[in-house]
Symmetry: C2
Subunit: 420 residues, 2 copies
């Protein structure tokens, strides 16, 4: 293939390490100047391609690109935008190819979850059909850890580390104060459909009695009687109870607890998350003083406590994506393959996008204890290496020195508008 430009886009919810992948893509492309011209990034993800709003990453210094490795969130912007099938709606596909053609783009790197894998796969198919073949490589990213084939997803390990560290620390706090004050602490974490992040909280409990003592998974229907009995027993035994709860906790009717019809005095839907609900239930039924926290975006942007394993893997998949592309591998995704648990060894292999697109990896039932309130040894074996190692960013003035890129626009060649 002749030398062509590359297009890189970030997709969906961002993570603490998606920019490490971007860093790897750009740095590796710069080492293949015989094959890859410029790397253009989509401003706000794929929308940037559709609207011909491309960012010229060649305008950024090596130091700025290097700093992406330790900068959280999406440096070029991301979006949630799913292309329908080519048959349903040809327009966005035709537009993408039009923009790629106009800017001499022969490589498409799409950094996202299962939706993005699907899009990248479709673009690879459609581009051939339209007579402008583009090498499409998906790059895994998602805090939800729900991509199939790959052993784990870059972005997840750092959230996992953040929630495990946080609930350990809060557990120490509550234990200190429990005699006269707070006895129950609830931390709400992300993961609406799968309990991977909730499970990661459990890593902090290494010995009997350690926080968190109770986990509430989206996979396990919430049974308030059983839950309250468990919390009461733990408070009586250990003096306090720390709880990790998934935002996706559901009741017996399959409804999210956080959407269970509670309204405030003005008739607004319940404002809080599931953590205050759970905490209030404990107070009402058991009388224990509570505190609760909702980590929300803090958990997925916490680059300051990123997992080293995660940061290394995020970089590795970006590097591998470019190396696969220059070898002409199309419609693939570099995935993480676990070679051994102790010591933890992993490698990167190429998998077909069509095997990954639109599928979802749920947490195995045997990762959750029979009573539904904690993780099993198998789960711990799987999760433990993913939070291993620290990868601190540099600091300036007591704060992490994260980079903001110039994000210079590539001059438009088409100039035609496209409604997204």
């Amino acid at each position: 293939m002749a030398k062509m430009n590359a297009f890189y886009a970030q997709s969906g919810g961002v993570t603490a390490v998606i920019n490490a992948t971007a860093c790897a893509v750009i740095e590796t492309a710069r080492k293949h100047k015989n094959r890859i011209g410029k790397v253009y990034a989509g401003r706000d993800g794929i929308i940037g391609a559709l609207t011909e709003d491309l960012i010229d990453t060649s305008k950024e210094s090596p130091a700025a690109i290097r700093a992406l490795r330790h900068t959280p969130a999406g440096a070029f912007g991301s979006c949630r935008y799913k292309l329908k099938s080519f048959e349903e709606n040809r327009a966005p596909f035709e537009r993408l190819i039009e923009v790629f053609k106009a800017h001499n783009i022969g490589y498409f790197f799409y950094n996202g979850g299962n939706d993005s894998a699907d899009t990248a796969y479709k673009v690879s198919q459609v581009s051939e059909k339209l007579g402008y073949p583009v090498i499409c490589v998906g790059i895994p990213k998602t805090v939800d850890n729900d991509l199939v084939v790959t052993d784990c997803c870059p972005g997840f390990g750092s959230v996992a580390k953040y929630v495990a560290v946080s609930i350990r620390e809060a557990g120490f706090d509550v234990a200190s104060m429990a005699r006269t004050s707070t006895k129950v602490f609830v931390l709400e974490v992300m993961g609406r459909h799968a309990g991977w992040i909730t499970a990661a909280c459990g890593l902090a409990a290494e010995k009997a009695g350690d926080a968190p003592q109770v986990l509430l998974f989206p996979e396990i229907t919430f049974d308030s009687d059983r839950f309250l009995a468990r919390v009461d027993a733990i408070v009586k035994q250990y003096g306090y109870c720390a709880i990790g709860v998934s935002e996706g906790l559901r009741n017996a009717e399959g409804k999210f607890l956080s959407e269970s019809g509670l309204k405030d005095a003005f008739g607004h839907a319940q404002l809080g998350g599931v953590a205050p609900l759970i905490a209030n239930l404990v107070k009402d039924k058991l009388g224990y003083k509570y505190h609760w926290a909702v980590a929300d975006y803090l958990q997925r942007s916490a680059r300051h406590i990123a997992s080293k394993t995660d940061a290394l893997q995020a970089y590795a998949v970006g590097k591998a994506a470019v190396e696969l592309a220059v070898k002409g591998r199309n419609a693939v995704m570099p995935v993480i393959v676990r070679k051994s648990n102790r010591p933890y060894k992993w490698t990167i292999e190429a998998a077909d996008l069509k095997d990954i697109a639109n599928r979802e990896k749920m947490m195995p039932r045997d990762f959750i204890t029979a009573d539904g309130f904690h993780i099993t040894a198998q789960c711990r074996t799987y999760l433990a290496p993913l939070i291993a190692g620290e990868d601190y960013p540099p600091y300036k003035n007591g704060l992490p020195a994260y980079v903001k890129l110039k994000n210079v626009a590539v001059p438009k060649k088409l100039g035609t508008a496209f409604e997204v």
Copy 2:
């Protein structure tokens, strides 16, 4: 003074570095074996003294005591328990002296806020009256940063660093997604009466447009029209808005917003904090998609991102407390004195407990901008050094290796009960 034992107690809400102070007290006392016998700690704070539930810290290895330096929360337990004046209720004072006498305790180190300074002061007065003089030294600790005389309070700098780092990171996240998703992010932080922690969020905004763009202080009456206009203008200018809000935000009637009479469908008082209220207001009035986080205990237990300045000062006040005590200084508190801003220089001096007891340091009005929505340059100059430097704990299995002490009880000598 003959060699006597020492009593150390942790008081009130715990912090990321109060154990660093405990570490310093014990390590320094061990260096003064000619004057100080054993250091006994109160199990669950002063309650431990009242109930004769003392912990023998001599049973802990030097390594375990050393590990306190990097372990958050209160290793011996803390409590909220305020002694009334001696005239109002003599019993607890008489009990304390009885326990001190029984265990040959001649030094009382009380590690807490302004209440604790008051208690330590009273004990020093009463112990003389009762013919068993005890050297009483208060040691500053509070995330609220509201002690007078001292330039700052150990515990505050680490919360300050945590909230500044967190809102910077969340700001990067929101900025990435703002085009198609969340445009407004709200982080709720502690500080019910004074806006020191809210102000610390502002440190993350070093350049125009940086997150957080809006701060809501407990000192500034909440005016929803002005607030909404500001948020709208910021979203229009920068694409998103990150907001730091104090849990103690009040309306024009002086009521906490988080207690403003909202009830859920079951008639429960509003479950959520102020962050979801603020976020929902933005959604209702401006239509912007929001996310919110409540850091709660995570912020004050986040030893993983402790400020080095704070950790050093927490150790320094503990060391100084013991050195003052062995010099026979009574009814004093070692305080932090700022010598210069750039470079930041500080020293420890002794202040009289009676000048500190029961007073509260509010944030100067000129630390808040005239419009009430951000911090001024003076505030930044004051706060910046307090978050400087990182002081990472050691890690094991990807998690901070915090110590749990054996906390062996000292055999009771009195055996009489005391109702607390």
